[in-house]
């Protein structure tokens, strides 16, 4: 009974009392809903922490931290997607890693080579600071579980990508593809592997499963004729690259030229 008194007095504080002259039509019970109260409890430091929960979490936390904080490589320059108009250093690195790691699996399976890599600017979720780097950096840059796929797609849809790229004005990461943006804002000299693009030729394009299904408005990627699932997460590619090298080396080639 005291509980009811307390909650009724709380109602006065909340002030909002709606009298709704409709009734529940429960067919059986004599008791029906008379009052409904709703509130939200914020989970803040005002709540004491339950020690027995921390005790359960602790071994998991230390294992994860030990693993994530293990130094894998050294990074000499800050990698930041906001630096650079048409290319960013971190974007170039991500495209290179995805291209190389994806190509390795694809070539083993199909004896064919990857021609192009396309990723999205928005998919890079963090910077990588100068200094020692760990798997935690890979989780921060790529928190999603997206996995690499190679799609077979005609050259004309790569031209659609270039048009999209210029319109978007974002340094979406690319590898294997180069082009020039003219003063009037159109593309020219589009090349794949240094060869002029052929509109009806089928290219092998490595990307992630999200973009391959038209994510980030890359609808043209849905025009692919075949999809090869690599079962290789982009984050795992990054971690494997960190393990491979001692010092991070960002590719410096110019892919997009602005006239």
């Amino acid at each position: 009974m005291r509980k009811n008194k307390k909650s009724m007095s709380q109602m006065k504080h909340f002030g909002l009392i709606l009298t709704l002259l409709t009734f529940f039509t429960t067919s059986n019970a004599q008791d029906v809903v008379s009052v409904i109260e709703g509130k939200q409890v914020k989970v803040t430091e005002a709540a004491e922490t339950k020690a027995e929960y921390d005790a359960v979490i602790a071994p998991y936390r230390s294992q994860v931290n030990r693993d994530l904080d293990k130094i894998l490589a050294y990074n000499p320059v800050i990698l930041d997607k906001s630096k650079g108009q048409w290319q960013s250093n971190i974007g170039d690195l991500m495209a290179k890693i995805t291209f190389e790691k994806g190509n390795k699996v694809f070539e083993e399976r199909t004896k064919k080579k990857v021609d192009v890599c396309i990723l999205n600017h928005g998919g890079i979720r963090a910077m990588i600071g100068q200094g020692n780097i760990t798997a935690r950096n890979a989780f921060e840059v790529m928190p999603f579980e997206n996995a690499a796929v190679v799609i077979e797609i005609e050259g004309k849809y790569l031209v659609d990508f270039v048009t999209y790229f210029i319109k978007e004005k974002k340094p979406h990461p690319i590898a294997g593809l180069t082009f020039t943006i003219t003063a009037s804002g159109v593309a020219k000299d589009i090349k794949v592997n240094n060869e002029p693009i052929v509109l009806d030729k089928v290219y092998n394009l490595v990307t992630n499963d999200y973009l391959a299904s038209g994510g980030d408005k890359m609808e043209f990627l849905k025009k692919s004729t075949k999809t090869h699932v690599l079962d290789y997460k982009l984050r795992d590619m990054i971690i494997d690259y960190f393990i491979d090298v001692d010092i991070i080396k960002v590719p410096t080639d110019i892919k997009v030229t602005q006239e």
């Binding site: 909650s7 006065k12 002259l21 409709t22 008791d31 509130k39 027995e52």
Partner: protein
């Protein structure tokens, strides 16, 4: 828009009823039959075991399972008739999931004595077998009425609904999930069939109210609160409008931070409460239901105080 107006108008018109509410409290005290049920709920906790760091741009130093557990325990000390529910997307978001596949999330929820959960799209992130493999770590059950798991490992393990008898209050709770196609890799959800939420909810709620004679019907939904750019898309708002017999929808998926629970009208013109508490365990939702004899409620009306 309409919903906001409804709340605002009602708020303005209820200030006059303050005295009435006061007399109601003494009225309630006089009865011996009043029963109370406290619903606590979370959604989209996304493996957020730890509180957010102090420098987090949106929710600094908020959340954390050990704190949530303390709050739940505190409420259980005061209330003796509590249900603790989750509306899905328990998995994915921190390395705890990437490393342990949801083991720690389920263990901690079991310690907190969660009663029931539904399945979110991210709970398929290690495939349906990944979810199946973690079920032994969960002492609570999962419900989903519109995912047909017949040809999957979850067959018979996930029921459409569960009925709780909470000190004489019969509570029927069913689960509704979001369409998986386009959201989850088909290789992950395998032969899980997505069934129409409105049709399924209509069938189940009829059964829960008319056959099972539940006093309260709750939908644990991972449909999403509403889709402003696609108003016709099925959402909690649309589910409430297109069905009857649902008293409360506890939602998830859209990570919607509501200032307060929302009231919609169902097909019969009756109120449906919809609530969602953002994401990552930064809030705990609480809805208290008081029950009284039908005659008294008929005389005084149902009060919704939010």
């Amino acid at each position: 828009m309409k919903r906001r107006d409804f709340i605002k108008n009602t708020a303005a018109s209820t200030s006059l009823l303050g005295l009435g509410a006061l007399s109601l409290s003494s009225f309630q005290l006089a009865t011996n039959t009043t029963k109370k049920l406290t619903i606590l709920h979370t959604n989209d906790t996304h493996s957020q075991i730890e509180p957010f760091p102090l420098n987090h741009p949106k929710t600094p130093n908020m959340g954390g399972v050990a704190r949530r557990a303390a709050i739940v325990e505190q409420i259980r000390k005061v209330e003796d008739n509590v249900l603790l529910l989750d509306a899905g997307d328990i998995f994915q978001g921190t390395p705890y999931f990437n490393y342990y596949g949801g083991e720690l999330e389920f263990k901690l929820m079991s310690m907190m004595k969660y009663d029931l959960a539904t399945i979110g799209n991210h709970d398929f992130d290690n495939g349906i077998t990944g979810l199946y493999g973690q079920l032994p770590n969960a002492s609570f059950e999962f419900v989903s009425a519109n995912y047909d798991f017949k040809n999957t490992v979850l067959d018979t393990l996930v029921k459409p609904y569960k009925i709780f008898n909470k000190k004489g209050i019969k509570v029927g709770i069913f689960g509704i999930g979001v369409e998986l196609y386009g959201l989850v890799d088909p290789r992950y959800y395998k032969e899980t069939k997505y069934l129409d939420p409105v049709e399924i909810a209509t069938d189940i709620t009829t059964k829960l109210k008319d056959v099972e004679k539940c006093d309260l019907v709750i939908c644990l939904s991972h449909l999403g609160f509403e889709y402003k750019n696609e108003p016709g898309k099925i959402s909690d708002i649309n589910l409430a409008r297109k069905t009857k017999n649902i008293d409360l929808i506890i939602g998830g998926h859209t990570h919607t931070f509501l200032d307060k629970p929302v009231i919609e009208k169902n097909l019969d013109g009756q109120e449906v409460i919809i609530n969602q508490v953002g994401a990552f365990g930064v809030n705990l939702g609480r809805i208290d239901f008081f029950f009284d004899s039908k005659e008294k409620v008929t005389a005084t009306g149902k009060k919704i105080s939010i």
